[in-house]
């Protein structure tokens, strides 16, 4: 391996490497036991994997980081509200929630896809703002519509004033229904096998999907929209489809996430989902243009180690856990910023190189024609 290759490796994987270094520094500072960390990581992997994996397909299709998975999360939450109100429990409840939220997720995903098609080149900012906008509509429905226009019978879920869902909804009915389906315990660590199996199914789906015609279309669109259009691929429709699939997967992912946690913060659970999932994917070495399944696994572990460890480390270092909290926020956003910068910088450098070569080719041509 010569120097150039080593340098390239470090630049391409700068983010995960930095994270590993940070973790190595921070873990001893936090003073948490290895076993505790492993258990935490198992739980968090089960919680977040499905959600993070839902980000992959839009990246293949060249839509960048889909901050719009929040829309899928909101759809899933609406399904959960109904299922909890109807007292449908256990795995049946969770499955029912998934099925009834799917139409909502599909519609929201379609809206997002169409909006993003109108904002080519600005997809990420647009999906970010779209998340806020739909959050407003979600609030309109859940905080003002439910109980009034939308029939909700359960009094424990409604606010004292008679309409609007409470801030925290107890999901005791479906808590752990997927996780504990096939319990596995290695040593002192509980592993939610069923959840991982479901994630495995998703991975197989993604790998299979890449090979289908639609998947190949998305790849083509992701690489170059004009070339794809010339090849007869319906570019607009393919882009919308990628977002719809992503939103539906995020909807399922959010339901899995919530069944693990057991309580739903009606107005907050979905807000951070976009940011956390994207940060985790980027930490795992993915970029705006390229992401794979290992990125998701590695990313979640690294990101969440930092997440768990930094408040404690902050306390040990400076005597104030609050600093650790802000440090965690700083790192989450900083990582995304860094990954975006590296990606944009790489594109810019390639454009420069292409322009340089173009200019050289032109000058050599003109000098040739002078001679000739």
């Amino acid at each position: 391996m010569n120097n150039k290759n080593i340098k390239k490796f470090f630049i391409n994987n700068a983010v995960p490497i930095m994270f590993i270094v940070l973790s190595i520094l921070a873990i001893p500072l936090a003073g948490l036991s290895g076993e505790y960390l492993i258990q935490e990581m198992m739980t968090r992997l089960a919680r977040y994997l499905f959600l993070v994996l839902s980000l992959l397909i839009p990246i293949i299709a060249g839509m960048g980081l889909n901050f719009g998975i929040v829309l899928g999360a909101m759809a899933g939450q609406i399904g959960l509200i109904f299922v909890t109100d109807w007292s449908v429990v256990g795995l049946s409840g969770m499955t029912l929630a998934i099925i009834i939220s799917m139409p909502i997720a599909i519609i929201l995903g379609w809206i997002a896809g169409v909006a993003l098609n109108h904002a080519k080149g600005r997809e990420m900012v647009t999906s970010y703002i779209l998340g806020f906008f739909i959050n407003g509509v979600y609030q309109l429905v859940v905080l003002y519509g439910m109980g009034r226009i939308i029939p909700i019978s359960s009094n424990t879920m409604l606010l004292p004033r008679g309409y609007g869902i409470r801030n925290a909804v107890d999901l005791e009915n479906i808590r752990g229904c997927l996780d504990k389906l096939i319990p596995l315990k290695i040593g002192n660590v509980n592993i939610p096998l069923a959840t991982f199996l479901l994630v495995g199914v998703l991975c197989v789906f993604i790998i299979w999907f890449r090979k289908t015609k639609l998947g190949q279309d998305m790849r083509a669109v992701g690489q170059d929209m004009e070339v794809a259009a010339n090849a007869g691929i319906p570019v607009e429709r393919t882009r919308v489809l990628s977002i719809v699939i992503s939103t539906v997967l995020a909807c399922i992912g959010q339901i899995i996430f919530l069944q693990n946690i057991g309580t739903m913060n009606t107005y907050n659970s979905h807000e951070q989902i976009g940011m956390f999932s994207i940060a985790a994917l980027l930490v795992g070495g993915a970029s705006v243009a390229k992401a794979s399944i290992p990125n998701a696994f590695i990313g979640i572990i690294l990101f969440h180690i930092m997440f768990v460890v930094s408040p404690r480390a902050g306390k040990t270092l400076v005597g104030d856990a609050q600093i650790g909290e802000y440090f965690r926020v700083f790192i989450s956003y900083g990582i995304i910023a860094l990954a975006l910068v590296l990606h944009a910088w790489r594109i810019y450098k390639e454009k420069e190189r292409a322009r340089m070569m173009f200019r050289e080719a032109n000058s050599s041509v003109s000098s040739e024609s002078e001679k000739g």
């Binding site: 109807w86 007292s87 449908v88 429990v89 256990g90 795995l91 049946s92 409840g93 499955t95 029912l96 099925i99 009834i100 019978s153 009915n173």
Partner: protein, 124 residues
Amino acid sequence: MRRWLIRLGIVVGFIVICFLLYSFGKQYEIFVDNKTVTISETTYEAKYAAVYNIDDSEETEIKLKKRKKSYVVGPNHVFVLKYVDENGKDVEIKKEFNLSTDRESLIVNIPVLIEGGSEWLIDK
């Protein structure tokens, strides 16, 4: 044409699944009362302490004037009551019951059950 039929079939299939999930997954509250009650102008006296279980659950003791709460999931269940009557004989009553999805909370009145009344299971 065929594609639309298949799509319609899938949608209908999903709707059917939803109904099945709803019927088989819905949870009901069952309160078990061992109190003296009056239903339809007949008074049933609570006379015996008893023990009950629903489906395969553990036996729960219920003394006089007490109320216990259980949860059941799905439509079909079996309620088993065991008590000792005045003559010291062990009596066991087994009742199968079906719940339709429009019900939410129900009460089992033990005295009514013991005397063989038809309204041993009523809505709250």
